[in-house]
Symmetry: C2
Subunit: 385 residues, 2 copies
């Protein structure tokens, strides 16, 4: 086995995540490791909690980063809220709703679903109908469906869920830091996200927040949480005042998350959301100039992730291969129902700049032209606002 | 909230982990992030698997790093091997054996235990007696008990376990890369470790290896693994040839692990084990010069972690506070039965050097002298070999 020195290329990461990482976040990653009970790290934990609270827009005491990727945050929310025999209603509009169903089922819950076509949002009527038939402990929905590029409206559904006395569980993996999300105003009880999307940090941690109601439900359980590693009744002691050792926190990743959240705070949430909208609009103008059609209607289009149909006669893998190998740009292929017929173009966090939009459009235009799809003016259209 | 620029101090990390990180590993951490399905990352995954196999000394196909800390590796081994109603025998000689019992119980297994006094090793006779009474699917033991500093002999117990047809599950969190461990020769079926101990990488990943027998057991399950995030039947597809997306791998941490494992390979396993033994011997000579007594007998003493009794009249927290605040040296307090009456002194991975031994002994001697425990010659004793 011959192994060369590590030398990964500088990609422009415009897929569904990970997104590009700010130089200050890279620098934080390589700061000296200290112990997980060192007063220096304890202060950093408190700062991470404060910064996460302002990013989630919540006063929830339990607002921390789980020591795993976004999917571990999903599992954390379900294993801590459901016990065997509990009923959960899962809203499915793409891959991540399907994953929620799977995770909830493995908790021994009785799971019902509300489904909608890929590329559309769940309606409040559909949720109301399901809630009128049975009582549920948890209703779960994806805010930003990374497999379809749909931004799910939450406000009316949250009201319904609370009228029926259930806990409202939201996947914010691709929305936190890129799209308006006000946990307390929306009445979200359990929410998880990932670091590698709109927060612009490498993958490896999952920010979660639990409302007081969600914590009461956790305390009132009759059986222990099935996952010891993700048991918030234990983890919250390490992140709380008693600092009881649970597991060795991923020190370097928490340094990186803190720096990424500082960048969010410095920019301001509203400015950051506006930037994501503005750069998507430029991208969309460019894609339309290339005669490409978008999968999702404008009013529910997710600013950090744009899904576009692959034109007739153009092969998915060929285009993505040229973009990656010649131009150093990663975009995402379709998942599930969109496999081989849609691309997913991310403009998340640090990646969401006008320059990245024009760099990508120029490369895409040239690539498509080389394959016989002759259209022009993408960059000009993007810049014309 | 005012948050200062990140500036953690350069600690000498001589606690029970994390240990100090080599400059090359820090550099790898901050290499440019690429996508989790990028051919560049796929190659890095293959290199990580090869390097892990040589470090574990195994041919096991499923040898990967779980996207969580060492405790997530523990949970991975149990949730993938046990189903509700299965019987597990857990050997307990400290905190991490107790944690194994807890994790196995949460899988719905019927758990029996073999216990021994803290600071001693489990005997083969005790295991033989337990195995003569009932059949077990899994027998689990900690190779290097980080709470006591005992190195558990495995060879004879492994034979017994296999004679009884059970799977042999071993915690190697504080042994991998620091103490002789030959997975295939010992017949270990499931093993997990952590990155932040003798591998000298920041915390955040958990190397695991599953034997073909353990994989057969996984395939033959009647119920899905209760954790979706840790389900190796899914994760192995992403780490295998099909590269089916499961979760977004922690890219930067895998870069760091690869570099840390390269350092292990460059040094050579035998040279690395010898270094851990040699530097512990120097430490022990110094501690004895200070009239301190060791908790664990020499023949089962764990080279990377030395437990020492706190002398009468000396307060645990005072000494550790002075070492940390004045000298920038972290050592560990006692856990469980050893709380406030023992220190845990780690010499793991990059930290295990003669210079660190003498730096620590000089600081400890001065600290103890200042508190009225007047002894001298620790550094001289350490260097006298």
């Amino acid at each position: 086995m011959t192994i060369s020195p590590l030398d990964p290329p500088e990609r422009l990461l415009m897929g569904p995540g990970p997104s590009n990482v700010h130089p200050r976040v890279y620098q934080a990653l390589s700061a000296p490791v200290v112990g997980h009970l060192d007063p220096v790290f304890v202060k950093i934990m408190e700062e991470c909690k404060d910064l996460l609270r302002s990013t989630f827009q919540t006063k929830n005491e339990l607002t921390i980063a789980i020591s795993g990727t976004g999917s571990s945050g999903m599992e954390t929310c379900f294993v801590n809220s459901l016990e065997p025999g509990d009923r959960a209603l899962i809203c499915i509009s793409g891959v991540f709703g399907m994953r929620m169903r799977e995770v909830a089922s493995r908790c021994g819950a009785e799971v019902d679903v509300v489904e909608t076509a890929w590329g559309t949002a769940i309606t409040e009527e559909a949720v109301a109908e399901a809630l009128s038939k049975k009582a549920y402990k948890v209703v779960a929905i994806v805010h930003a469906e990374t497999s379809t590029g749909v931004l799910q409206p939450l406000e009316e559904i949250s009201k319904l869920v609370h009228e029926h006395g259930a806990l409202f569980l939201v996947d914010a993996v691709t929305s936190l830091g890129g799209v308006e999300l006000d946990i307390d105003a929306l009445g979200v009880d359990l929410c998880y996200s990932g670091t590698q999307k709109c927060l612009g940090c490498p993958p490896g941690l999952s920010p979660v927040t639990f409302s007081p109601r969600a914590m009461e439900n956790l305390v009132a359980r009759s059986k222990p949480v099935q996952s010891w590693y993700l048991d918030l009744s234990l983890i919250s002691q390490y992140w709380g005042e008693s600092r009881v050792y649970h597991h060795t926190a991923p020190i370097s990743m928490n340094y990186a998350l803190r720096e990424a959240l500082l960048l969010v705070a410095e920019e301001g949430l509203q400015a950051r959301w506006d930037r994501h909208v503005r750069n998507q609009q430029a991208l969309v103008r460019g894609l339309q100039a290339l005669d490409l059609s978008l999968v999702v209607d404008a009013e529910i289009r997710l600013p950090p992730l744009t899904t576009v149909r692959i034109p007739e006669g153009i092969e998915d893998a060929t285009v993505r291969g040229i973009l990656l190998q010649r131009f150093g740009i990663e975009i995402g292929g379709g998942l599930g129902a969109f496999q081989e017929n849609a691309w997913r173009i991310g403009l998340m966090g640090t990646t969401s700049t006008e320059r990245n939009v024009t760099t990508f459009l120029a490369a895409l235009q040239a690539t498509l032209a080389g394959l016989g799809h002759r259209c022009g003016g993408a960059v000009e259209a993007a810049l014309d606002n």
